[in-house]
């Protein structure tokens, strides 16, 4: 039995019939073609499926699409196109804070959330906030560097 859902995805209204068992990450990827949200485990552990729901970063595999009825969803594509994380993406590129790119959407969304809450996180705070996002390629240091550099640049831009 399918349920009808209406949600705003990256600013666009979306209406669809979904099977309740389909999690939000699969819905975004398969029904909407937004494949930037990745599947790594479906246990809620790796963070590859991170998306923003009503402004908060959550695991896209631990919420079913039906639950997002009436919600505002933002994925990496939307956050990219809006320019919101352009500086963070540039910092990642300059520092090679991504290798295969599979964890990167989740890392960017989570890092952006940290920076929105804390304008001057130290390296330990960055590591802690990103501790739920698994990366097998980089060993994390470049990611920490890129987030730290972005935070610094944003603070300086404000002065």
């Amino acid at each position: 039995m399918k349920n009808r859902v209406r949600m705003i995805v990256n600013g666009d209204p979306v209406e669809a019939e979904v099977a309740p068992r389909q999690h939000l990450a699969d819905f975004l990827r398969e029904a909407l073609g937004l494949t930037g949200t990745h599947i790594g485990c479906e246990h809620g552990v790796c963070g590859a499926c991170s998306v923003r729901l009503d402004g908060a970063v959550i695991r896209g595999c631990l919420i079913f699409a039906v639950q997002a009825d009436g919600a505002r969803v933002e994925t990496i594509e939307g956050v990219s196109d809006s320019g919101e994380i352009a500086d963070l993406q540039a910092a990642f590129a300059a520092r090679n804070a991504l290798q295969c790119g599979y964890c990167t959407p989740g890392m960017l969304l989570t890092a952006q959330e940290l920076l929105m809450q804390n304008a001057a996180p130290d390296r330990e705070a960055i590591r802690e906030y990103l501790s739920g996002n698994y990366c097998r390629c980089t060993g994390y240091q470049a990611i920490i560097d890129a987030v730290e550099a972005t935070a610094k640049a944003r603070r300086e831009a404000k002065q």
């Binding site: 479906e42 552990v45 990219s80 090679n96 290798q99 990103l130 990366c135 980089t138 060993g139």
Partner: protein, 789 residues
Amino acid sequence: MSGQSALDRPNSYISRAVPRPNLGRLLQGRGQYVSDMNLPRMVHVAFVRSPYAHARIVSIDTRTAEAAPGIVAVVTGAELAKVCTPWIGVLSHLQGLKSAPQHAIAVERACWVGEAVAAVVASSRAEAEDAAAQVEVVYEQLPIVPDMEAALAPDAPVIHPELGDNLAFERRLEVGEVDAAFAQADAVAEAEFVFGRHTGVTLEPRAILADWNAGEERLTVYLGTQAPHMMQTILAKHLGLAEAQVRVVCKDVGGSFGIKVHVYADEMATAALAKILRRPVKYVADRVESFLTDIHARDHRCKGRIAVAKDGTILAFEIDDLTGIGPYSVYPRTSAIEANQVVNLVGGPYVVPNYRARARVAFTNRNVMCQYRAVGHPIACSVTEGLVDFAARKLGMDPIEIRRRNLIRDDAYPTQSASGMKFEALSHHATLAKLLSMIDYAGLRAEQARLRAQGIYRGIGFATFIEITNPSAAFYGVGGARISSQDGAVVRLDAAGGIVCQTSVTEQGQGTEAMIAQIIASAVGVPLSKVRVILGDTDNTPYGGGTWASRATGIGGEAAWRAGVALRENILKVAGIILQADPAVLDIADGQVIDAEKRPRVGLEEIARIVYFRPDTLPADFQPELIATRHYTPKKYPFAFTNGMQASWLEVDTRTGFITLLDHWVVEDCGTVINPQLVDEQIRGGVVQGLGAALYEKCLYDARAQMLNANMADYLVPMAADMPDIHVGHVQTPTAESALGAKGAGEAGTAGAAAAVVNAVNDALAPFGVTISEIPLTPERVLKALGVI
């Protein structure tokens, strides 16, 4: 023509940390991983997998499953075997290696938990799983071989009776007078080194999309493989096709580290299903399947001994290594290579006059095992460096000092190891000096002493290592495998003045595309932004080996360099005609042909315009070729060895057994460095995988060969909060075999990290008189060593 040397080109990108050109799509979530792809009429496969480690398949009833909603087909091993032939993972140069035929879907027996016994194809993965639960399989359980010791016990059940026993491979090596050396030694240290069984845990699970076009009679396979040409050969061979009928395409790959270089039964099955069903079939492993069926690695128990004289001179090494692989040797690279490398690499950095080694590879009913990043190196390095430290301890000698006395001298080359590994030129002493300049050794020792007095136990550990890169055909080809040891590059100047390079090496995130682009841009003389690289497509790249064993830069990069140089020569021939000048005095810099006075005279866009659109203006007897192809394979040395050294500084909470990694250093010599940032990041990523091995990672099995922690919560991988920053330094000893002089760097971090950590823990615990030689270093292991539990 100026700029003969690779490092001598104007506006060269060699040794420059430029950002990778292909990052935009990955940063925006616009990459294309296999699981992202959809094709018309595509269907999904889920596999019914054996819950038993060893069982005869008595019967399979698919009727209920076939009637389930959305089901397209339910296929058993017997049916699939008509379309896909079995394979045997042996190579002739690994003498005595034996294995049994393995099918894409098990036919008579399942031999490990997770082996596929049937395939369910449906409109969606969820429906396929629903129906898979309704496939009725009757099993007759068979005796299980749960681990390596049980495999070789006298009364062990033999997994493949036709092979006689469970010993897949044995290698013995003896050099010098080993017994005499031990008898004469002033000190002997020995230990049993035990390693956790690991798996890659690539964030993107394995995925394949196979598309058989019945009209074209052609199979196109989208696969995150490191070796597309090898897969093309194998798919053709086992599906009864000509190689020309198979195309393998690799787009973005979410991590591989060797996991995705092997042949997997479920992937072969998916390709066969596409052929049977005449429509695209997609298979994406879920995380549990990944743990159960991705190749595992490094399940070794290695007894080691070292004999030293009282001045610290190493007299001999001896090892007896046992490893338990799965029920089949993995195809086509074999599951004996890892043990073989352990034998080859023990003692490698040192002068070792006497060496004895035995390595045995045993079949078990656990998951299959094969090459994973730094194949065998972590084992060899941990054993060697552990024994060196134990010997130092017996002699009361500083661990740096014993290494200094025994490392092969930097002026001793060319030379070879006791095991016959040929070294062109390494830099152990320069590396050691560089590392010491980075760490303030005296300061760390002083801090250690000060904190010990307060009951805080910190330790520093070292690991020197050698690393196999750029393998020649001696690695696989000589054994009969159709795994190419050469690579090629095709470079052309396009009509609008852009440079396009097609290369046979592949990208999984390490930066292959950037490395090739930098080399091409430097060789031809154009800005990096003008270069586009095409890789990962057997239809559109030259034939080659791909990316593995840290060979892409040294071999693929060298081919690209030569092709770029050849294209430059061809361009300058045209320029010479246009400018009425001798091509020998012309060069290309920043996309412009420059004359002997370095003045820009004509741009490449103009050269291209004339060649492609106005050939009437060129001499009648002159045919320009704005395209060049070159291939390269190392010929002189079977491997381009690199060397490095790592140091770990950590604290052991002796009350809880918990270890905190405080700092980590690596000095690496990989010859010419094309992009320093990419090399450093490879090292960091590799180190963290090694730190994971040291502290966390182990596939846990019970007595029924059931994997107990096949999920992301229970198989522990390193996360950001628990990892240190890693300091990287370099020495550069280029190889003389190639123009670029580049060796490989991708695996060095993993080779030595765990050894450095274990040595650091033992150093921290020295006041307690205990040593540990088993990883992972769980708190329980530490507490047990301390005797408090």
